[in-house]
Amino acid sequence: MCARADLLFKDFRGEEGDLIPLLQRAQATFGFVGPEAVGAIARFLRITENQIYGVASFYAQFRFTAPARHGIKVCLGTACHVKGGAILLDSLERDLGIAPGGKTPDDQFELDRVACLGCCALAPVLTVDEDVYSSMTVNKLKETLKRYD
């Protein structure tokens, strides 16, 4: 962590406006914003950890626990909504036994909703990690997830 912590602060001067970019870099580096990263940022910016959590928890981007091996994101943008995105999410919740924001006990999958992935013409859409699956149906879900076992 120490060596990587130095890298975390490269190119930053310790100004107030650095907080969000630092949190973004921490998350990109470690996969999440953990207590060690928050402690290091607090010392670097000379602000309290509470202040950092106050800002970080405001923004949807930041997560405070380690991610699962595969992340599923169901698009619930307007176009996906009218084409049944919520039904896909429901099915996944049922199949995986988790709610949006949660992860399976074996750390294999985590499930989240996303406001718009920006490929509205291909709705309904979901992503698993970096892969985009378009024109999804409830029945395609199972085989799709099998690829990530």
Binding site: E16, G54, T78, G118, V138
Partner: protein, 625 residues
């Protein structure tokens, strides 16, 4: 010869070498939408096909031309010939397309959608004569889909930075006057005159001033800004330089959603190229004007599209709006005068400076000059990104450009979650800031969501309110508590548990939230509810009094059933049903137990899309009454 003229000459040479008719060029749309549709797989198969036939072509990756429904798109230009365009290209077609052009010397007639040649070609329409493109006027999107967005020289060869070059020859006050005369209004949605905003900021006291490009495009279903940055990032960056010069700023920021990785990457590449050619940094194009730009990635908060919340976010705080005045043009970022302009506003500026205010006023109407981009999505035949002169009636946009809906038209939502849901009687409304506001909606940043009779407007109102409620920053009570209550009422109604007095409560809450919220997010949040209550009241009444959803969308009001005459007893639905609600032996009519059915749609899909079954499972609403 000035630095800029030299740069321009060099750029034109490079561009002519590519497009002047000496090379074969294969153009591939690889913006986010094209990639999601599979453009990169198509690229690989084209490369394989080229190698297999031993022919050479330069592959040019471009931004989105706007016809998203045709993605992935591939265009082929042979030396001396016109550019032919193919849509919905499958990797398996690559071989035939390449063979047809390079070996037989003609386009693959069965797949070609249009050409970009000057002369008519028998049997193949001109691309811009296609119904989706003929009514459009492309100013800000002019280069999207034509130039390599990662190549500064392509931009310059196509008019890029000529507007800046012209602006730098004038005193800053004259640049502001030109924009005032053009009548350009903020394309982020509110429509404040851009020139006036600049005038206020240039007159504000302070040595240090800022320009911020607002690329925090948060409306679900809107992607105009992403497409423009991905397709022509230099237009936006040039606009920032012009704004900076006009108001006397030396520093700018692009505040862009972290969810747009490709757009961010292209901005960064564009800025590095600008720096290398003296278009960014000290003494731009040999003038005394210095300007630098930084990128700030948003962290996922819709409210940060609001000016004061955006500033708070750049300063490293929670993105909460504050009361105005003081306005950002007086006290903005770090307490200094700041102009915040939308991506599209900035992308339009170079064209105004290059061609003059009078030219720009030649498009649109007196009070709403120029063009506006819209993302056309929903239940429409031709989805995509379009640019039309302001004042065009909604009907023309939806039916001529968009090709209409599959089922009969029901409504159009303009302005995303902050806008209103307009019924058929408003279709002849010309798009403009005032005309849409009069109808109870807003222009917004440009999302147009079209709904047909398969879309439930009550559900849409609930969807937008739910979105806004989750994104409310919580600072002011009307927005924090009011939207929460509205969502609860709407959930009751779509859940079949609404009462008639809920409608009065909803109306009162909506009006209160609209009048008393602190910022634009709360002030516009009730629009979907107010407009649907006004124009689609009968739908609310059906949900409440008859537990009937005519669009067959609101799940608690639906029931699944089997039509015995159609059921072949194939057992596909029995296998698919997760709760064992469907039973029945092979080759006999199946039985669906409604008490076990969770309405997950698995059986419905299986019965429609698998060959052995045959549409025997149906969904209806209000069947019990």
């Amino acid at each position: 010869m000035t630095d800029f003229e030299r740069l321009k000459e060099q750029s034109i040479r490079e561009w002519t070498d590519l497009t002047g008719g000496t090379r074969a060029v294969i153009t591939l749309g690889t913006a986010s939408c094209g990639r999601a549709a599979g453009a990169m797989a198509v690229r690989r198969s084209i490369e394989e096909a080229l190698a297999k036939h031993g022919v050479e072509a330069r592959i040019l990756e471009v931004g989105c031309i706007g016809s998203c429904y045709l993605e992935p798109m591939v265009d082929v230009t042979l030396p001396g010939g016109p550019r032919f365009s193919y849509g919905n290209v499958q990797p398996a077609w690559a071989e035939r397309i390449v063979a047809s052009h390079f070996l037989e010397g003609k386009p693959l007639a069965s797949k070609v959608v249009g050409h970009f040649g000057r002369d008519a070609i028998e049997g193949i329409p001109g691309f811009f004569d296609l119904p989706m493109f003929a009514p459009q006027v492309r100013i800000v999107l002019k280069n999207c889909g034509f130039i390599d967005p990662e190549n500064l020289h392509h931009s310059i060869a196509n008019g890029g930075y000529a507007g800046l070059h012209k602006a730098l020859q004038k005193p800053p006050g004259d640049v502001i006057s030109e924009v005032e005369a053009a009548g350009l209004r903020g394309r982020g949605g509110a429509g404040f005159p851009t020139g006036r905003k600049w005038r206020f900021c240039s007159e504000a006291e302070g040595e240090m001033k800022y320009v911020i490009c607002n690329a925090d495009e948060g409306d679900p279903g809107a992607f105009m800004n992403r497409s423009l940055i991905e397709g022509d990032p230099h237009a936006v960056l040039e606009g920032m330089l012009i704004a900076g010069y006009a108001i006397g700023a030396s520093r700018g920021y692009v505040y862009i959603r972290a969810e747009y990785p490709l757009a961010i990457e292209r901005l960064k590449k564009a800025m590095a190229q600008m720096r290398a050619e003296g278009l960014l940094g000290e003494g731009i194009l040999g003038s005394p004007f210095s300007f630098d730009i930084g990128i700030k990635e948003g962290a996922g908060a819709f409210v940060c599209g609001e000016e004061t919340a955006l500033i708070a976010s750049i300063e490293g705080r929670r993105g909460m709006p504050r009361t105005r005045p003081p306005f950002p043009v007086q006290e903005g970022l770090h307490g200094r005068p700041t102009v915040i302009n939308n991506v599209e506003t900035l992308g339009t500026l170079p064209h105004i400076l290059r061609n003059g205010a009078a030219w720009y006023r030649g498009f649109g109407t007196e009070a709403n000059p120029g063009t506006k981009t819209f993302s056309l999505v929903g239940k429409i035949r031709r989805t995509g990104l379009i640019e039309v002169p302001l004042g065009m009636p909604l009907r023309k946009i939806i039916f001529d450009i968009g090709g209409g809906t599959l089922k009969p038209f029901r409504a159009v939502q303009t302005g995303g979650p902050s806008g209103g849901c307009l019924s058929e009687e408003f279709l002849d409304t010309p798009v403009g800031y005032e005309s849409l506001a009069k109808a109870g909606s807003i222009m917004g940043s440009g999302g147009l969501i079209v709904m047909d009779t398969d879309t439930c407007v009550v559900d849409i109102a609930r969807y937008f309110l739910d979105f806004i409620q989750k994104e409310s920053c919580g600072k002011c009570t009307p927005c924090r508590v009011g939207t929460r209550h509205m969502v609860e009422i709407l959930e009751r109604i779509t859940g079949g548990e609404g009462e008639l007095r809920d409608l009065d409560k909803l109306q009162l809450l909506a009006q209160t939230v609209k009048k008393t919220s602190l910022c634009g997010l709360g002030q516009t949040a009730p629009n979907p509810v107010l407009t649907t209550l006004a124009y689609f009241r009968s739908e609310y009444l059906q949900h409440i009094q008859e537990r009937y959803c005519s669009a067959v969308v609101c799940r608690p009001l639906l029931e699944y059933f089997i039509i015995p005459e159609k059921c072949t007893g194939c057992q596909r639905c029995v296998a698919a049903c997760p709760t064992g609600a469907i039973t029945g032996p092979r080759a006999e009519v199946h039985n669906l137990d409604a008490s076990k059915c969770i309405k997950c749609r698995s059986c419905y899909e299986i019965c429609r899309f698998e060959a052995i079954a045959g549409n025997a499972i149906q969904i209806r609403s209000g069947g019990g009454l």
